[in-house]
């Protein structure tokens, strides 16, 4: 018999932690989908390695969420037993892999944000989040470098790779505004020094993005209309399909272990 979904409370720190855990899990899962399919062996390993880093970060964050919620749940419960509406990841990260250019542009736009984000979180008043940040920032520094190199290679490569990279950038751009979104509950955490105000990272993000895109001969999209909803569980159609694969085993065989 299928197992019922769980719902979690709105406690600000729990929500904040789960949203970031969801970001890491969903992007990690997307990267894992490349395993065995990447255009070359080195990239197959790179994408799987980065996926592993992200899933490791997700595990640390979910384990902390379980401690914060103190409802006797473990990390797996959040990953496997919440439905689409319960997930609070960024819409950008659930977008399908598409071609290699789309995967790399998605990776780049996010890494340029999350790498300085983790480095800033190292100063969080919450010692567990600060400790997770100190590990994660070393990993995301590599992710940013790797993605930046590919954006330049694709953008400043052949006519076809340039066309695909620009198309991917234009398609993903409306999902980047969500990274800087803050809700009232998060505002409280920022005031307490637990969370950081992403607005403070915007100028640095724009600078990294503009610098790499210029080197890649890609045009920064001028359309600044931004899509939102992911943080509150309003997702694109893609997340449900992703979860149906990610959660299948635990839903069909509740509590299965090996």
């Amino acid at each position: 018999m299928p197992v019922a979904s769980i719902s979690v409370s709105d406690a600000p720190l729990l929500r904040y932690t789960l949203r970031r855990a969801d970001d890491a899990l969903i992007l990690g899962h997307r990267l894992s989908e490349w395993c065995g399919h990447a255009p070359m062996m080195e990239e197959d390993m790179a994408l799987a390695n980065m996926g592993l880093d992200l899933i490791g970060q997700a595990r640390s964050l979910y384990a902390y969420a379980a401690k914060v919620e103190a409802a006797g749940r473990d990390e797996d419960a959040y990953a496997y037993l919440r439905d689409v509406r319960g997930y609070g990841n960024l819409l950008l990260l659930e977008q399908p892999n598409g071609d290699f250019a789309q995967t790399m542009l998605r990776q780049f736009l996010y890494a340029a944000f999350i790498d300085p984000w983790w480095r800033t979180m190292m100063a969080s008043a919450d010692t567990t989040l600060a400790a997770i940040a100190a590990k994660a920032e070393k990993e995301t520094a590599y992710h940013l470098r790797h993605a930046s190199e590919w954006v330049v290679r694709l953008g400043d490569g052949t006519q076809e790779s340039h066309r695909r990279a620009q198309a991917a950038l234009d398609a993903l751009w409306p999902f980047t505004g969500e990274m800087f979104e803050v809700d009232p509950a998060e505002r409280e955490l920022i005031a307490e020094g637990v969370a950081i105000d992403p607005e403070a990272l915007r100028a640095g993000w724009r600078e990294t993005v503009a610098g790499v895109l210029a080197q890649a001969t890609l045009a920064v999209p001028q359309n600044d209309w931004m899509q939102k909803g992911g943080r509150n569980g309003h997702h694109t159609e893609h997340l449900g399909h992703l979860l149906s694969e990610l959660q299948y085993l635990q839903r069909a065989f509740p509590g299965a272990v090996w």
């Binding site: 592993l52 992200l54 640390s60 997770i132 590990k135 070393k138 590599y142 470098r145 790797h146």
Partner: protein, 168 residues
Amino acid sequence: MNAAALDRGAAVLDEARRIAGAVVDPEIPVLSIADLGVLREVRLNDGRIEVLITPTYSGCPAMTMIALEIELALEQAGLGPATVTTVLSPAWTTDWMSEDGRRKLTEYGVAPPAKSAGRRALFSTEEVACPQCGSADTSRLAEFGSTSCKALWRCNACREPFDYFRCH
């Protein structure tokens, strides 16, 4: 506790530290967790030995294996059952790798990590000496290698490919 009992406690801890520290990384079996800097502390908690370790990479699958190996080694030495606790802070860095560990890595054919200071520039690459012939004329083939901690490099002098333990 009298002086004799304290001495015994200290001797047990030394022994436990030696045994736990000798557990090797399953991915790089020439490196012990003491060499890696993964072993942080061994202490007594109500007569039970507690081993504190720090994870290397967030998603490194070797950590589960290492924790099991520590429990097993202490059990076999008659010092169990022991508890293995993971501590996140301060975050592990390759700077903690011992000189002995760096030498063993090179002999094993893996170039040891550069010190972490030079890591930040966006498009930089490290200077890595070939562990085979020692030449500094090397190039990076792939940033991400066969495990989380390794990158794939090639020596332009002796033409041999080699693993580089990534600076973290």
